[in-house]
């Protein structure tokens, strides 16, 4: 019996036949398919993320949420264009810059998108009993965890960065009110905020998904995680009659954007809170996968 199917690219054992038995070098020789060895771990992470994004893009709800996430930047563009043309027509400086408000606004539909993308990810794999699909070419649990996190974080990051890029292009291209360095700094700040918020969103949605086999429960849990810490933070602040760090995701995003683009004092704390949510979700996911895969 032969294992080489005709016309499919034979597997090649590249073991050196002259190698002394038991001698040094890669033991067993490297087998290849069309001259390539098995893909590396980083390609697997990318493959997991890509596949999940592709699958999600076929779901109506996710498409709807994506469209919903694109609406704020479109409105923002219209407002800025109207402002620019009004200023050019009247010669007056209107001084209205809606960037921070729109980034706040943009964070809401992107959170909903993260919610739609992230909450079924691990729960469905567990419900369908396909976790071991990823062990057939063994991956470390962190490969799986990171792949799933990126499936949520990357689209969210793109959508959060989009308004910043748009404004930079409009300001540079039409009004020339920004110099290139200032535009780059602004985009970098928005990019940083986008990274932190997207990672936090991924943790807040993928983590709960790893705790249950039912996507509905994951959605409830995720929703609670988005809301409850913020409510607790507000209550504590009220009780102590003092400012407390933004422990809820919503308030952390507000404080982070304010600190980066305006004048806020909780920038570092907000970053740590959001990054912490991300790592918590990532840790829960990898721990769950480890537990499922290890007898």
């Amino acid at each position: 019996m032969t294992l080489d199917a005709p016309g499919q690219g034979a597997l090649v054992d590249t073991a050196d036949p002259r190698r002394a038995p038991g001698g040094p070098g890669p033991l067993g020789g490297k087998r290849t398919f069309r001259g390539r060895t098995a893909p590396s771990g980083s390609r697997i992470i990318a493959a997991i993320a890509r596949r999940e994004i592709l699958l999600a893009s076929r779901r109506k709800l996710v498409r709807l949420l994506f469209l919903f996430s694109v609406i704020p930047p479109v409105i923002l563009t219209v407002i800025i264009l109207v402002r620019i043309f009004a200023e050019q027509a009247t010669g007056a400086k209107l001084g209205f810059d809606p960037l921070i408000q729109f980034l706040h606004f943009q964070a809401v539909p992107v959170a909903l998108l993260a919610f739609g993308l992230g909450t079924p990810l691990v729960a469905q794999d567990r419900a369908e009993d396909v976790l071991f699909l990823y062990a057939t070419r063994p991956v470390a649990p962190w490969h799986y965890g990171l792949g799933k996190m990126l499936a949520v974080a990357l689209p969210c990051f793109g959508l959060l960065l989009f308004p910043g890029l748009l404004i930079a292009i409009l300001r540079l291209g039409i009004t020339r009110e920004l110099d290139t360095a200032a535009a780059i700094a602004m985009v970098a700040k928005i990019g940083f905020a986008g990274l932190v918020v997207a990672w936090g969103y991924a943790g807040l949605t993928v983590g709960p998904s790893a705790l249950t086999k039912r996507a509905r429960w994951a959605q409830l849990l995720s929703f609670a995680l988005f809301l409850i810490p913020g409510v607790i933070g507000s209550l504590v602040g009220e009780l102590l009659r003092t400012d407390v760090p933004p422990i809820g995701a919503g308030s952390a995003i507000t404080e982070l954007l304010t600190a980066l683009l305006g004048d806020g004092e909780w920038g570092v704390a907000s970053t740590l809170i959001l990054v912490g949510y991300g790592f918590l979700g990532y840790w829960v996911t990898t721990a769950r996968v480890k537990r499922e895969m290890i007898p």
Partner: protein, 322 residues
């Protein structure tokens, strides 16, 4: 513990475990396992919960050893991703989507393994071809028999580039025709020069695949080697059942009971079965019995000459180190 004979260890030592232990908190998964495996097929047998799956997952790098060292394909699979990408695992559990076709499942699996989409399609076709499922490939996986499912899992590894192939209970719940097919595929893998480790509690399947077997119980490797050597060595250390044929069953039983090393005697129709802790002494002494019997001993049968029998003894012995 039986050490691996020098001739048994293949020129390429694909797997080397030295005093490897794995603990789950206070539970022992593997205990002080020494094991060297080369190319070709090697079997690991043991009852449920004996540590077979832990061994498999340690070799894939999913679990790091708590003590001792592990070397797979020249590196540590727990820390070296280059090693992991040269390993293929066929898990005992389900791993495919019920709603997708067999072909689509394979494509998803190969894409998830990081292969480009076109390569994944070709690898899926190749896998279906190898395991003889091309005609069923486009049917929903949920409608497939257990045997077909197992073959599909095997195809995933067969079509891939894994040099070390770990098969966890591949015959579990598989019908006889599919078993034959699976066995042929596994033999072909071994003949290709890959290192194949098959775990099972279906002992005769392992015996029919390879003469290199390790026996695991309670996380300990109780024996490892050629089946013949293993049986011989373990027989010397374990209770051994012998059947003697004679018409003087009661006289014979009385004589056997008097021997120190005999633990149990059963009288049947024209035969007597006994269990001895010293088969070496028993076989010598049987020759001296006939003069003391009215009817001669007409036949001697060793009932414990199969791996099954040895396995029963050693695993029942539990954690006793041999």
């Amino acid at each position: 513990m039986i050490s691996t004979p020098p001739s048994l260890a293949d020129a390429r030592e694909t797997v080397v475990l030295e005093k490897t232990s794995v603990f789950y908190g206070e539970v022992i998964g593997l205990s002080q396992v020494d094991l060297t495996i080369g190319n070709g097929i090697t079997g690991i047998v043991g009852p449920n919960g004996c540590g077979k799956s832990t061994l498999m997952r340690t070799l894939t790098g999913l679990i790091g050893p708590s003590e001792g060292t592990i070397r797979v394909l020249g590196g540590n699979p727990f820390t070296d991703p280059e090693v992991r990408k040269r390993i293929g695992l066929v898990p005992a559990t389900e791993c495919f989507y019920e709603g997708l076709s067999g072909r689509k499942n394979l494509e998803v699996a190969f894409v998830s393994q990081g292969w480009a989409r076109k390569d994944a399609k070709d690898l899926a076709s190749r896998a279906l071809d190898i395991v003889g499922l091309t005609s069923d490939g486009d049917r929903a996986y949920g409608t497939w028999s257990r045997g077909m499912r197992q073959r599909l899992k095997l195809g995933l590894t067969l079509a891939g580039t894994a040099e070390l192939v770990l098969l966890d209970e591949p015959f579990l719940g598989v019908d006889p025709p599919s078993r034959r097919h699976l066995r042929n595929l596994i033999e072909a893998l071994g003949a290709e020069g890959r290192t194949v480790l098959v775990s099972s509690h279906v002992l005769h399947e392992i015996e029919s695949l390879t003469d290199r077997v390790g026996v695991l119980a309670h996380g300990r490797l109780l024996g490892f080697g050629r089946i013949g050597d293993l049986v011989e060595s373990l027989q010397d250390r374990n209770p051994h059942r012998i059947q003697l044929e004679t018409q003087s069953t009661r006289e014979l039983a009385r004589l056997l009971v008097a021997w120190d090393h005999v633990r149990e005697v059963q009288i049947g129709d024209g035969k007597v079965e006994f269990v001895t802790e010293r088969p070496d002494l028993a076989y010598v002494a049987i020759g001296t019995l006939t003069p003391h019997l009215t009817d001669p001993i007409e036949g001697v049968r060793t009932l414990d000459d199969s791996l099954e029998a040895v396995f029963r003894h050693v695993t029942a012995a539990g954690s006793r180190r041999l």
